[in-house]
């Protein structure tokens, strides 16, 4: 004779198996936004590199020369010097070949008459096409300059240097 208790165990087993299958279905169907651990490391490094380069360019070269190279570049709108100095700083590395980081730089100032913003292009190693994955770095510079150009005498102003950096 077969004991009747065995049937109950079978039913429990089948029910448990069905619940476990549903559980697996729910877990697989859960939404997970997966971010790879190394996703933003190159962005972070480029931001640090660009910020350090601008910081270095905003340091006066010696005690008697009170104006930093970056300040002189902005005051004279000296795009070629900016290109040379910034490009050397971010792209030179040990070995034969330089790095290939591209940049485009401009500085933004306030128009005193209506508090609007005006950006002045400085220089770029390549034109922006819109497809770049660029990192933006900024630096405040105090300059003695007439801003916007042609509006009264030169006075001390704070302008924001903005550089977009990307690798291609």
């Amino acid at each position: 004779m077969v004991a009747e208790g065995g049937q109950l165990y079978t039913i429990e087993g089948v029910a448990a198996a069905l619940i476990m299958l549903t559980t697996a279905y729910l877990v697989v169907g859960a939404t997970a936004v997966y971010t790879p651990g190394d996703a933003h490391i190159s962005d972070m490094q480029m931001e640090i590199l660009g910020s350090d380069a601008l910081k270095m360019m905003d340091t006066p070269q010696n005690f008697t020369d009170a104006k930093s190279p970056l300040r002189q570049i902005v005051e004279n709108d000296d795009g070629p010097t900016f290109w040379k100095m910034f490009n050397n700083t971010i792209n030179n590395r040990s070995g034969l070949f330089p790095d290939h980081i591209q940049f485009t730089a401009n500085y933004t100032y306030r128009v005193p008459s209506d508090n609007s913003m005006n950006s002045s292009f400085l220089n770029a190693s390549r034109n922006l096409t819109g497809g770049e994955h660029a990192v933006r770095v900024t630096k405040w510079v105090i300059v003695t300059k007439t801003l916007p150009p042609g509006a009264g005498p030169a006075q001390d102003r704070a302008v924001l240097m903005e550089v977009l950096l990307w690798r291609d």
């Binding site: 429990e12 087993g13 029910a15 448990a16 198996a17 619940i19 476990m20 549903t22 559980t23 697996a24 729910l26 877990v27 169907g29 859960a30 939404t31 997970a32 936004v33 997966y34 971010t35 790879p36 651990g37 190394d38 996703a39 933003h40 490391i41 962005d43 972070m44 931001e47 910020s51 933004t108 100032y109 306030r110 005193p112 508090n115 913003m117 770095v137 900024t138 630096k139 405040w140 510079v141 105090i142 006075q155 001390d156 102003r157 704070a158 302008v159 924001l160 903005e162």
Partner: protein, 114 residues
């Protein structure tokens, strides 16, 4: 017993199913924290103060307005300078209260020149 265990697993799975898992990487956290912005803004404000700057200078309006529009950060500061705000014979130091807030990080500094 097996029935009870599988039932508890089922409820745990429901919890996972209803929550959306989003990961933030360490590098993302580093980028989000405005370390360079704060260093830069306090540096330029102190430079303005050391040049015997006044709050009515265009530099103050430049920093406040350009920060808000181009950097998305609320920045403000006060200046209390020796010879301008207070008597230099009593106190030779310059003082500034600096406030920075970009919506994620807030920074306040009570600066005294040395």
């Amino acid at each position: 017993m097996g029935f009870l265990v599988s039932f508890s697993f089922f409820f745990l799975a429901l919890v996972i199913n209803q929550s959306t898992l989003v990961g933030q990487t360490t590098a993302e956290g580093v980028i989000e924290f405005p370390k360079y912005d704060i260093r830069d803004i306090t540096h330029v404000i102190k430079e303005h103060a050391q040049n015997n700057g006044q709050i009515t200078d265009p530099i103050h309006a430049d920093i406040v307005n350009v920060s808000l529009i181009r950097k998305g950060a609320v920045v403000n500061y006060t200046l209390d300078l020796a010879g301008l705000g207070h008597d230099p014979i009593i106190d030779k130091n310059n003082y500034s209260l600096i406030h920075y807030n970009n919506g994620v990080t807030e920074y306040n500094e009570n600066w005294t020149s040395t």
